[in-house]
Amino acid sequence: MELLKGTELTKAYRKKDRKVTAVDRVSFSLQEKEFLAIVGESGSGKSSLLRLIAGLDRPDAGRLYYRGEDYTGKKCGDIGRFLQMVFQDAYSSFDPKMKMLDSVRECGAGKSEEDLRELLKSTGLDEALLMKRPGELSGGQCQRMSIVRALYSGAQILLCDEITSALDVSTQAQIVHVFQQLREERIFSAIFVSHDIALMGELCERIMVMKDGVCVEEGMMQEVIAHPTHDYTKLLIENARKQSF
């Protein structure tokens, strides 16, 4: 079943006296329980697209649908009922003055304590960490806690913006494992924005490749990796292979 859909999404920003089109008529869809990767280099418009989907920015053109219902331009609070974001910098996604428990509860008001305990267990986090502040956690712990918070809110869709790019290789693997584990236990979908096509290959079944604000290629992950059609996708895959050696 189609959970999320975006049609002809466009967003332009003013940069000095110039108009820069960050997202140019991009359409996408996300199925239930599906993990979708949006891949591209820096400045390709993937994070801007994610902000549009989350309602943090309003598209200049195009519409967004959740379960067939148009939510374009709706308030963040309404959108937050079905989707949550996981940010690149996990530390800055938590208020430095607040304990983890308060930050997590802020998003999951009225949700059960049992659910929180289960989520912590699934992500391999100690309950004692809830009493700490973000600065007292490691980067990996903080990122896992932000995943816990997003799922504890009851959102069915997670929008993950470069969530592994600030982490070392072993912590990246931990995060991938956490998602694989959670996927077996819970029903949720996710959109991952990343420049790491190899890492996305381990997590997602579908991929969208973006360049200069345009979606240049999309399809099933294995198919695109095995037979890329666009030159830019070929370049990304080639670079990923070189880095793995």
């Binding site: 989350a54 609070g77 959108i79 940010f87």
Partner: protein, 274 residues
């Protein structure tokens, strides 16, 4: 490196502790002035006019035979209370304006910030003198005169910190959680902007004290016979060669109090910057 940082932190905490203890002592003395003042500060005595320090009048008497020490203690109540009141009011008004401007921007932000720019273009005392001159003498006039410029530093500080915080991911997370603007301001923006604004408030205490005493000295602040350090210096300067203690006592009290609060503000700022 870590040990050095710990040592510096400890040293700064000791500095803050000492300054805070002296500041508290000053506040306790002026709040409970009745318990510490040896005589009635307003009681004149023709037999003891301009009497040098003695057992009965430890800091001597003034031109009307009033106890200088008692007047310094009661005068401190006026000066310190007025300073705290003005700093607190400027703190609240400036912080609210700054946060709202930073959060919503737009035409109101541009208008208020241009007013702030104009205010900052003139020395604070020049504006205060002009306003106090128009309003006439009295503590109320002096407070309004100084307050007109004082909110600006708080507003600019609160605005700049709000601007840097409002796009932080944790604010966006709160928005996605459906939290209201009021909640975000009270729960996230205010606690995260408080430290620099409070430090600014501490450093403003000394400046405000100089301002209030300065206006009183010029006859634009507290009006005699009310005991206040600036007006006491102004009254006693006419006979400084005969009774220097009547000028020195309030002057030294002003200097010590300003040094203590400035030192406390600096120490807190250094600690925060560590």
């Amino acid at each position: 490196m870590k040990t050095r940082s710990k040592k510096t932190r400890r040293q700064l905490l000791i500095r803050i502790g000492i300054a805070a203890a002296i500041a508290m002592l000053l506040i306790v003395v002026v709040v409970f002035a009745g318990a510490f003042a040896p005589n009635d500060p307003y009681q004149t005595n023709a037999a003891f006019i301009r009497k040098p320090p003695c057992a009965e009048y430890p800091l001597g008497t003034d031109n009307l035979g009033r106890c200088v020490l008692s007047r310094v203690i009661y005068g401190g109540r006026t000066t310190i209370a007025a300073t705290f009141f003005l700093v607190a009011v400027s703190f609240v008004i400036g912080t609210v304006i700054g946060i709202l401007c930073g959060l919503f921007g737009g035409i109101v932000d541009r208008f208020l910030m241009r007013i702030a720019d104009v205010t900052l273009a003139f020395p604070q005392m020049v504006i205060a003198l002009a306003v106090a001159g128009i309003l006439g003498g009295g503590l109320g006039g002096a407070l309004i005169a100084l307050g007109i410029t004082m909110w600006v530093s708080f507003a600019r500080l609160a605005r700049s910190h709000t601007l840097s915080i409002k796009n932080e991911p944790y604010i966006q997370t709160a928005l996605l959680a459906g939290k209201s603007t009021g909640y975000i301001v009270l729960r996230h923006i205010l606690p995260n902007t408080m430290a620099p604004i409070l430090t600014n408030a501490l450093t403003q205490i000394g400046m405000t004290m100089i301002g209030i005493s300065g206006l009183s000295f010029l006859g634009l602040g507290v009006v005699p016979p009310t005991a206040e350090w600036g007006s006491m210096i102004n009254e006693a300067r006419a006979y400084i060669q005969i009774a220097p203690w009547a000028v020195l006592a309030p002057a030294v009290a002003t200097i010590i109090t300003i040094i203590v609060f400035n030192y406390l503000g600096d120490a807190v700022m250094d600690y925060r910057d560590l």
